[in-house]
Subunit: 403 residues, 2 copies
Amino acid sequence: MLELVQPTVEEVVLANWTRAAEASELRKMLSITMRPGILSFALGLPARDLFPTKAYSDAVQHVLATDGLALQYSPPFKRLKSHIVTLMAQRGVTCREEQVFLTAGAQQGMNLLARLLLEHGGEVLLEQISYTGMQIVLEPFQPQILTVATDLKTGMDVDAVEILLAGGAHPAFIYAMTESHNPLGVSLSAEKRVRLAELGRYYGVPIVEDDVYGFLNYEGKPLPPIRSFDDKWIYYIGSFSKILAPALRVGWLVVPEDLTPKLSFVKDATDLDCATLSQRLVSAYLDTGHLDKHLETLRREYRARRDTMLRALGEHFPEGASWLKPTGGLFIWVELDNSIDAGALLQKAVETEQVAFVPGHSFCSGNSSYKKNCMRLNFSNCTSAQIEEGIARLGRVVKNASR
Amino acid sequence: MLELVQPTVEEVVLANWTRAAEASELRKMLSITMRPGILSFALGLPARDLFPTKAYSDAVQHVLATDGLALQYSPPFKRLKSHIVTLMAQRGVTCREEQVFLTAGAQQGMNLLARLLLEHGGEVLLEQISYTGMQIVLEPFQPQILTVATDLKTGMDVDAVEILLAGGAHPAFIYAMTESHNPLGVSLSAEKRVRLAELGRYYGVPIVEDDVYGFLNYEGKPLPPIRSFDDKWIYYIGSFSKILAPALRVGWLVVPEDLTPKLSFVKDATDLDCATLSQRLVSAYLDTGHLDKHLETLRREYRARRDTMLRALGEHFPEGASWLKPTGGLFIWVELDNSIDAGALLQKAVETEQVAFVPGHSFCSGNSSYKKNCMRLNFSNCTSAQIEEGIARLGRVVKNASR
């Protein structure tokens, strides 16, 4: 037995990919936006005054009093899957319980699918401007990221997808947010939906369709997700985080039935797949039949907040700024005068007017670059009065920067 | 735009590692053990009649009524970290809140640490007989698994660890369950604890210390975990699953403070790190100060069930079978006559006597093989009467097999 005195290695060696996972300047900036006193349009938080808290409290009481398995290790809750089949039908999607896989939210859904489909160093196809949650899922795989542009009126450039696939690219999957894109707010056009599903099927490339805003629509019934066109190549991601509450951590996938045992394996490794209490809580809430009315309330309130923000933008933002009215979701994408750098603007906005947003280029995926003059504004987490006040403040900062 | 008719690819291509993740014969067998009517000693379930259900129900009511952030996206709950610091002191470990990282259970703790430390195809060091939850975490990495033996009285062969490290191996980490090993039931001796911590420090290899049974001890105060000897190279895994309830999905890590931002990044990618409701629930329960009394109840009950099982084994098992009395945890490891194959025995036990267990060799890690004549018996999830009955049945099956 050796005498062990002087360590041979001074510091722990982490996996390679973690070097890229440093807190960025932006991330540091965003943590500043969480300071008390800051009026923030930065994060995508649902309005907590709209959570049906009392109904959950009743539901959890009921579950704990009547269901002896609610706190034990037990398999995914079948009754909740049946509720989800009904919900999916409201979105125009026909599916069976056997195709529903319960997750701890949409983020976990992305992570499990990436684990299942993506080889280390493999290829993935994203939009140039894409939800950052998927981007952080991909980092540990150190993948090759193929990107396509997004049209602000019709969504993902599906022709560009076709050119890539026809040219021999075979990504592990294509990630698409077809309804109320985060951060751009655009929904994929009907024509493009059909074509994208065709491309997935023809080239044998799974399309991961993120529909977390599919139930938050403010202009009549939205188009059905592309999962309604194909049940083999489209993997659907849904979540209760935005329509019930994030902290419940319940979401779902709709996937081909033969994938669910593999997903179970991955989920077991991730967290043992036994969040039985929260699944039963959500199911008990859905049993009461109050979801439809609750969704109506959310749509009415969020529509009003969106409209307040659109009006305030018109009033307080200078010429040269433009934005589109999103038909759903939680965000408005604003393009400012070309000369403005939204990163520098954020710093000024926080310092001089105590108001925050996310600079658009922080959603860039892979090696893609994007113009620096854009911002994402969230309208769900502030009251109308706060939106008025915050956009007025932000308007002053933008006007000063435009001079 | 091409006309897309005949698919070019018929089936989805999954990541390579998933080929090894087929449901094994054993897994299929285990699902049979879940059939109604089967008396099962197979899984590691805590006793659900001992869950403090009413206290949780009160705690969740209180949290929902008083804490406006309980259902929102929000950061890990600081007050719970402070409770954990106090709990760790009871285990002889000094730590600070900044070193505590909250997880959705021990399984997630393992998964996050593997993501952080292990390169694809990298090296890890496990015991030949090792908790399967860590093994399924490792599969997607397709790692090189180095193994060492375990002595049934003193635990992991730490000399063998030293030989490997001195010979140039540099695993990403060593996985060790120092207290009440699952499945072997053994606790690492005091001498070996000191030496293992020295080896980690000297060779600069992190040791992932899984202490999920550290609070379930039945023979006086257990030894402190090796985290008490070193706060730089030992990463500690704890969990409320076995001492409160699995479905709450709350556990923790104690790690060097500088690792927590990296862990946050990995956890964000995994599930957005916002299980605020369950963290607040556990914290509110701990606020009541009832945990110590609850732990006493668990220890008394589980000690009685263990002793019932030991007595029944002595009564009903034939000569040639042997077992050790575990000082904690949930399992008794039994070695049968050399001629018996525990896999075949399980099939017979389920078919002829409706009783189940886990064959010992299903815990083999990497390419290691292990004798086939062992079984793991769980004693926490059956009443004393069921234990008497089940061991009598199993004794008959073993006696028949020994003939």
